[in-house]
């Protein structure tokens, strides 16, 4: 059931500083580019901003000075993924702590993520940023945590890697229609199955693509957003979710994660149901996460994602079309649009609900989007966004 806050807070502007393997820019420059674009998109300037919802990579004080925002009365510097920044901004505007909040997120390919990144002298001087590697070679945490639970999932349901391959192929096929996606070569199931194994059973095509880039969003009241040039996209329902036992190794099982908590709480606050959803944007930082979101959010039961994807597969376009209509990560997701740590999913929701996504990728007449963000351990969230009808 809808809550007092439902649809009262809106995203009034969005802009992406494009994600590519290497922008040759600092994180601050990319954030500035995204924020300037989002403000222009919303028909606003720095003087209209009184809140900054920032990241740990570029703190809000740094950005405020760089953008020339005269005064702010509220800010935060949240960890990834970007729903933290978006939800914080929503509550700040709802509470009156700020009226117009600039939300931003940036990724910068740190030298720890690849050999090519390590060879870049600028990145070496930058340090590891938020990509601090695991120091214990035997710990099943971070990426290894996802790999081990992916293996458990396949084992428990008698499935093989083609399940995850469908997630990867769907993302890549969609990215072919997104001119801003970082990976734009077609991908077949055979390509997927031949990909280099990193952490069994997950290959390099099962994990998000390290990229440079930034997204920014203008968050304000729906009432105020209606006076601005763009059609407001409202936050209808949202929840985070975290379970008591949330450590990768100690997690009870995949049926007791933050995903279930976020999904149940979000649906309890929503008038929309799964039947109302026009576009589905599940987080896919690892393919197993998207696989599970189909099941946890209610499209199918545990272990049924493979059958579900197969049943709704468009063999001509090599992508998922739920009931021949609902697209899944039409921007390409983290695996192909780029490892945006969730900001790409919210950006795509806004573009879809404004009817501005490119041809073949736009769901015609989309009014309701479902975004499920984060994974199993300590970063799950879900939200329904709607095109404002006011």
């Amino acid at each position: 059931m809808a809550q007092p806050i439902s649809d009262q807070i809106a995203i009034a502007g969005v802009f992406s500083a494009p994600y590519t393997r290497s922008r040759g820019m600092t994180a601050l420059a990319m954030v500035t580019e995204a924020c300037v674009g989002a403000l222009r998109d919303a028909g606003l300037g720095p003087c209209d901003v009184d809140g900054l919802s920032g990241s740990q990579l570029v703190h809000s004080n740094t950005l405020q000075a760089a953008l020339g925002v005269p005064e702010i009365t509220w800010w935060c510097n949240q960890r990834i993924p970007v729903y933290h920044q978006l939800f914080e901004a929503m509550y700040a505007v709802w509470s009156g702590a700020a009226t117009t909040v600039l939300v931003y997120h940036v990724t910068y390919r740190a030298p720890g993520v690849s050999r090519s990144a390590a060879a870049d002298p600028f990145r070496r001087r930058f340090g590891l940023g938020t990509n601090v590697p695991n120091a214990n070679p035997d710990a099943a945490v971070n990426a290894v945590g996802y790999a081990t639970w992916a293996g458990r999932y396949l084992h428990d349901y008698g499935l093989d890697r083609t399940t995850f391959g469908m997630v990867a192929v769907n993302g890549r096929s969609n990215a072919l229609l997104n001119e801003h996606a970082a990976m734009r070569e077609p991908l077949t199931m055979d390509d997927y199955l031949a990909a280099r194994m990193l952490r069994e059973p997950l290959t390099m095509l099962d994990m998000d693509l390290p990229v440079d880039g930034a997204d920014a969003f203008v968050v304000t009241s729906t009432e105020r957003a209606r006076d601005l040039p763009r059609r407001p996209v409202t936050i209808h329902a949202a929840s985070m979710g975290q379970a008591r036992v949330n450590n990768e190794e100690q997690l009870v099982d995949l049926d007791h994660t933050g995903q279930q908590i976020a999904a149940a709480a979000m649906w309890s606050r929503s008038d929309a149901t799964l039947r109302d959803i026009d576009v589905f944007l599940p987080y896919d930082g690892f393919s197993i996460i998207e696989t599970r979101w189909f099941e946890v959010i209610g499209y199918c039961g545990p272990g049924e994602a493979y059958d579900f994807m197969k049943h709704h597969w468009n063999t001509e376009r090599e992508r998922i079309e739920i009931d021949g209509r609902v697209l899944v990560n039409p921007h390409g997701g983290s695996l192909a649009d780029g490892g945006t740590q969730g900001s790409g999913h919210f950006r795509e929701a806004v573009l879809q609900l404004r009817g501005e996504a490119s041809e073949g990728r736009q769901v015609p007449g989309a009014t309701t989007a479902l975004v499920t963000s984060g994974g199993f351990f300590f970063n799950s969230a879900a939200a329904v966004l709607r095109a404002d009808e006011g």
């Binding site: 695991n134 120091a135 035997d138 710990a139 194994m197 952490r199 069994e200 190794e249």
Partner: protein, 150 residues
């Protein structure tokens, strides 16, 4: 009085890369002597992982490192082909990591290298027992297939 005669300086010398804290110091003191320890509450007898100074079940502060068998079953497994350098691990062959649920308590798990003569993968749910291996960063607990099962 600590249960171990070894000095704190020695722990930092023998485990130069380990994230040693006041919460897990006892665990590493045990490793020096190849004793596998897990934090256990003396008020409610529950074990917990990762190591903490307060019991997450009853919130008692009377927590101490207690010996465990290291025997249990493999709950999670992955062979990884990339990982932290400096431990002498051959990632080309793949580094087999097992997460083992200890027989002492349901849900209590430790991770470690899975060791077999033929280098095979662990089977999920197979029974294992403790073995100590030596690495650049000191004595390290690892797991071998259970001798009871063979």
């Amino acid at each position: 009085m600590p249960d171990h005669p070894r000095s704190i300086d020695e722990v930092f010398d023998v485990f130069p890369n380990a994230p040693i804290t006041h919460d897990n110091l006892d665990i590493y003191l045990g490793r020096l002597e190849r004793r596998l320890l897990v934090k256990r509450c003396r008020a409610c007898d529950r074990y917990h992982e990762p190591p903490r100074s307060f019991c997450p079940d009853c919130l008692s502060g009377d927590v101490a490192a207690a010996p465990v068998s290291g025997a249990g079953r493999v709950v999670l497994f992955s062979r990884v082909h990339t990982g932290p350098a400096g431990f002498g691990i051959d990632y080309a062959a793949g580094h087999p990591i097992a997460v083992v649920e200890l027989r002492e308590q349901p849900g209590l798990r430790l991770s470690g290298q899975f060791v077999t003569p033929d280098g095979r993968d662990a089977r999920l749910d197979e029974r294992v027992e403790l073995v100590w291996i030596d690495r650049a960063d000191g004595p390290t607990p690892a797991f071998v297939p259970s001798s009871e099962e063979v």
